[in-house]
């Protein structure tokens, strides 16, 4: 019985079935990106055990598919059991062995990447310096306890908690936060003195803006701007309500909002309103000062990155980008390191387990760069795995070719 199971699990038939399912998954996963966007499609098709696809307009026509995890794991098992039970090593097959071990390495490496890799970004204006990067996917409700001489403490509640609309508490905070409203996505409208109705909250930015709930978006070139209306309740009762929104917490959104406003209400008013949008929302209680913000999750690093100069060159007489690069100053107080370097396309900075890539820029502000920050402990496995597979295929191909030619010569 066990032998029969092993025979099936290690069989070439299973390999062929898994490969064809893999092809189907990759194909439908690519089609799925059109409606779901790249990120969501990845989650749905490739980072899952089971999944399904249906044509964009026809929701009843469901095609079930095994997910990426399922196929990856199955191929791994198939390959390993085949080598344990069936394969006998011989020099004539050395190429196949190399290839298969390379593939095992690739599959495991991809799993490691999947589990431990994080992607985030840093947006820097010339002269600005940061020791953290912003998550591109996850947000948090952050309460900063403002200490003297810039020694701040941050308490951050993850988005998943805020979403549940309950009460948030933390031992180091002398108050509770009650989430009254949560928006997956929102639009911001300026509020004038003559706008009707009550503001959404009695403190902060709500005096100048109304944040309207909007449907969640999955498009590639669009993003969700979530937010929450919260009430801060201290020991002596309510301290007031605030709207916390990614509009105010993410430093890439406010400038584009200000530009949009400039078109609607003219540059001067827009500048004033923009400043209100950027203004930190703060309050005092129990003799301490607190700041509350809805913002992307931050990853802090020991090193500081300062943007010295950003250059963005285009081909003469066109809008085609030719070269964009960031001159940055890398400073690490813990080691005393301090140096300047260029980060540009195809030339990232690898430092302290992180890799900084030139990713993007602000089309409206020539002093702004956006760097992508990737932490991937498994980043070397593809290099090793691929060299093994490529080498193995080459060896096997040459063995065949030499055999073929000598056979023809003697024939």
């Amino acid at each position: 019985m066990l032998k029969r199971i092993i025979d099936v699990v290690s069989s070439l038939k299973l390999t062929v079935v898994l490969l064809s399912l893999g092809i189907a998954l990759v194909f439908f996963g690519t089609l799925g990106q059109v409606s779901d966007g790249l990120y969501l499609a990845q989650q749905k098709y490739f980072r899952s055990w089971f999944t399904y696809w249906h044509p964009a307009q026809v929701s009843w026509l469901i095609l079930p598919l095994p997910g990426g995890y399922f196929l990856g794991t199955s191929l791994l098992i198939n390959l390993i059991t085949a080598h344990v039970s069936r394969f006998r090593f011989s020099w004539k097959k050395s190429g196949i062995w190399m290839t298969h071990f390379g593939i095992i390495l690739l599959l495991i490496g991809q799993l490691v990447t999947d589990m431990f890799a994080t992607e985030s970004h840093i947006r820097l204006t010339e002269g600005q310096s940061k020791n953290y990067s912003d998550s591109s996917q996850k947000n948090e409700l952050a309460v900063t306890i403002l200490g003297d001489s810039g020694n701040d403490t941050v308490v951050a509640f993850p988005e998943s908690l805020v979403k549940q609309k309950g009460e948030l508490q933390h031992p180091s905070l002398p108050f509770r936060i009650k989430v009254k409203e949560y928006f997956v996505n929102s639009g911001a409208q300026p509020r004038g003195p003559r706008s009707g109705g009550q503001p959404q909250a009695d403190h902060g930015v709500a005096q100048f803006f109304t944040f309207e709930p909007a449907p969640e978006t999955f498009a590639m070139d669009d993003r969700n701007i979530p937010g929450a209306i919260v009430e801060v309740i201290g020991s002596k009762g309510s301290l007031g309500t605030w709207v916390t929104s990614l509009y105010t917490g993410d430093d890439s959104i406010a400038p584009s909002m200000a530009r949009r406003l400039a078109k609607m209400i003219g540059p001067q008013l827009a500048e004033r309103l923009g400043a209100e949008l950027m203004k930190p929302q703060e309050f005092e209680t129990d003799g301490k000062r607190f700041r509350i913000a809805y913002r992307p999750v931050r990853f802090y690093t020991p090193q500081w990155i300062e943007l010295v100069k950003f250059t963005n060159e285009k081909y003469l007489g066109t809008d085609i980008p030719k070269d964009y690069r960031s001159r940055v100053r890398l400073q690490n107080p813990s080691t005393g390191e301090k140096r300047e370097l260029d980060i540009y396309m195809n030339s990232p900075l690898r430092y302290n387990g992180l890799t900084y890539y030139q990713s993007s820029f602000d089309p409206f502000d020539s002093r702004v760069t956006v760097l992508q920050v990737v932490k991937n402990p498994g980043w070397l496995t593809p290099y090793a795995g691929c060299s093994l597979v490529a080498g193995g295929l080459l060896v096997q191909f040459l063995i065949h070719l030499v055999g073929f030619i000598t056979k023809r010569r003697t024939a």
Partner: protein
């Protein structure tokens, strides 16, 4: 006698190719010389000749214009010169291709061909489309931004709008399109500069000023600024050696340079019209630079050229072209040389020549299969080598012109896939000598060059590379190898098609043949099976290594080895498919016929990766979206499925196996053992 045929054929085609090296006929109008002059467009130095050809290709899918009245063909450069200097004549030329019936009727265009008016129902002149063009503009405003959400009609609108924009840009190349007597205008303009600039200074420093002088200079400046903002080609060579990074200019900018220069003047205008910018600082900058220096001689020369060509003064035009060329020979020697070389390349048309020879190769290969006469095969090999030489020559010349590895965009990938397939075919022919390799070479060489020709309709095929792609190292490794992976998958697929077609309709799979020189060929079933298997192995190697190198490139440039981008996924599917073929064969799940069917499906897989993924309109790789291509892709997929259907016919229906079936072949139907050839 017959043994001379290969040599004669090769000689004849060789002579035909040699004629391409002859200098063009002497033309008193110096149009050819004008075509060789350099300019900058699309971010690169190119000759007027390329600008003219690419524009015509984009607008009417041909690189010449036929004049039905004079019964002669105008070269692209001649047409461009006419458009730039005598627009009223050019506006009668039918250079806008409009095929969509709704668009034709919206613009009230005649759809029936008409001998007397010269209408052909496809191509229309500016005079015909301009009366209704406002309605096109109105339609464009209500259009979805994403290309994928537009209807076919809307896509036709966008295409026409692109052609019209280009047409207007071209008219602003040599002069602002609204100046009729350009050389005369320059004189009055130059005379107006000192007083005008002085009045401008006085006006903005709060002194009394001459209103007429000011409004006259501002009127000029606004017109020239408008011409500059048309984004016409940059024809005025750098002429400020004292400024580092000095660049080419448009005629508009060069005109404004001595009075109210473009950069600060543009800021000034936008400040005044309330579109941002600081008026005070713009004025200050303007006053600092304006009124210094005079028009650069190139401007005057182009103005005189325009008037000379316009008035038909051939000698004067030729003299001015020669003069401009002579000045550039010292100041811009590199640009001039590059433009000259590119013009020569355009005229030689190596890929068109190679394409023609591939047809001859295919014909000879079929002659061999019918009569088994060695001379036909030898002739085909020689011609194929000749075509390959021309094909490679074109490829290498392009690389030298661009300073790039062979594949930089969809167009060049087609050229290179063809090249790879031809080489592989010739290698197969070297071993098997049964004209199968020649069929591979000629059919794939021919079809990929046809595809390339159609891709060239998208515009400049030597366009500049976006920043992400701008690395010769990865273009030379990842792109070249993955493209060879495509090429070999196609070769395997084509061999499999031969297996199926020859097997179903002829007895050749199981019959060897004696040629007229007495050589006995192997039954094709056996050779084809081994070729397909070998090429699939080769394809696995190349597509895998190429895909992986792409991953490494991605890791280097944006920190993600694998991002599930459509193009990456397409390449991955090719790797998986080739691996599937190999494993299915090793596992005994399929035999010769099954491998053939799978390999034919490989054609679909490759076509999806090559073109299908670009049509999704998402992802970082989508560098080539084309809509007519979608229809062709569907036709191709359908044809491949039909062949697979043929391959599934029961073996009794295959002519090759009809006589052979009773013989003791293994189950599943491996090709039977070769029988002794007929004497």
């Amino acid at each position: 006698m017959k043994r001379w045929i290969p040599a004669l054929l090769t000689l004849a085609f060789g002579l035909w190719i040699a004629t391409g090296f002859l200098p063009p006929k002497k033309d008193p109008r110096a149009i050819d010389e004008f075509g060789r002059l350099p300019l900058v467009f699309g971010g690169r130095v190119q000759p007027f000749d390329s600008l003219a050809r690419n524009s015509l290709l984009q607008m009417r899918e041909r690189h010449t214009v036929y004049d039905a009245k004079e019964k002669r063909t105008l070269s692209a450069t001649e047409w461009l010169l006419e458009l730039m200097t005598k627009p009223e004549d050019a506006h009668q030329r039918r250079v806008f291709r409009i095929m969509h019936p709704e668009l034709q009727s919206m613009l009230n265009l005649p759809v029936e061909p008409n001998e007397t008016t010269g209408d052909d129902g496809k191509n229309y002149s500016w005079n015909q489309i301009s009366p209704g063009f406002e309605s096109v503009r109105a339609q464009l405003k209500t259009m979805p931004e994403e290309a994928s959400k537009r209807s076919v009609f809307q896509q036709a609108l966008v295409k026409l709008n692109g052609s019209v924009t280009l047409y207007i840009r071209l008219q602003n190349t040599l002069r602002p399109m609204d100046s009729a007597q350009f050389a005369d205008e320059l004189k009055t303009y130059q005379a107006a500069i000192p007083a005008g600039v002085e009045a401008f200074r006085q006006r903005f420093t709060g002194q009394a000023f001459d209103t007429n002088a000011l409004s006259s200079i501002i009127e000029y400046a606004q017109r020239y600024l408008a011409a500059d903002q048309m984004e016409s080609p940059l024809i005025i060579p750098p002429h400020h050696p004292e400024i580092p990074g000095d660049q080419w200019m448009r005629i508009g900018e060069a005109l404004l340079e001595p009075s109210l220069p473009v950069k600060p003047f543009g800021d000034f205008v936008s400040a005044v019209t309330g579109q941002g910018g600081n008026a005070d600082s713009a004025v200050a900058a303007l006053l600092k630079v304006s009124g210094k220096g005079t028009l650069t001689p190139a401007v005057t020369r182009f103005a005189q050229m325009t008037d000379a060509y316009r008035t038909g003064n051939e000698a004067e035009f030729a003299r001015l072209v020669a003069e401009h060329s002579a000045t550039l020979a010292t100041s811009q020697a590199k640009a001039l040389a590059k433009a000259g070389k590119e013009t020569g390349f355009n005229r030689f048309e190596p890929f068109y020549k190679a394409l023609t020879i591939y047809i001859a190769v295919f014909l000879l290969a079929t002659v061999f299969w019918f009569g088994f006469s060695e001379w036909a095969r030898t002739g085909a090999v020689w011609l194929c080598l000749l075509a390959l030489a021309v094909h490679s020559g074109g490829l290498i010349y392009r690389m030298l012109l661009e300073g790039r590895p062979p594949v930089t965009n969809l167009y060049s990938s087609a050229i290179f896939i063809g090249w790879g397939a031809v080489v592989l075919g010739l290698v197969l022919e070297r071993f098997w000598r049964n004209a199968v390799g020649l069929a591979v070479s000629s059919v794939l060489g021919f079809s990929t060059l046809i595809i390339a020709h159609n891709l060239a309709l998208g515009g400049d095929t030597m366009e500049m590379m976006r920043a992400v792609l701008d690395t010769n190292f990865w273009l030379a490794t990842h792109v070249v190898i993955v493209t060879l992976g495509y090429a070999s998958t196609y070769v395997a697929g084509f061999l499999a098609i031969l297996y199926i077609v020859l097997g179903v309709f002829t007895p050749r799979l199981t019959e060897g043949k004696r040629t007229d020189t007495g050589r006995v060929t192997e039954p094709m079933g056996k050779s084809l099976t081994r070729m397909v298997y070998g090429i699939v192995c080769f394809a696995t190697l190349f597509s895998f290594v190429g895909t992986v190198l792409g991953g490494i490139w991605a890791d280097q440039s944006w920190g993600r080895f694998w991002g599930w981008d459509p193009k990456e996924n397409g390449a991955l599917i090719i790797v998986l498919w080739n691996a599937l073929i190999l494993h299915a064969r090793w596992g005994g799940l399929v035999r010769d016929r099954g491998v053939a069917n799978l390999a034919v499906f490989g054609n679909i897989v490759t076509a999806w990766s090559w073109f299908g993924t670009n049509m999704l309109g998402i992802g970082l790789h989508s560098y080539g979206f084309t809509d007519a291509a979608f229809r062709w892709l569907m036709i191709f997929v359908a044809s491949q499925l039909a062949i697979i259907g043929l391959g599934f016919l029961p073996k009794e229906r295959w002519r090759s196996f009809r006589g052979a079936l009773p013989s003791p072949t293994p189950k599943g139907g491996d090709a039977p053992l070769p029988r002794p050839a007929k004497a």
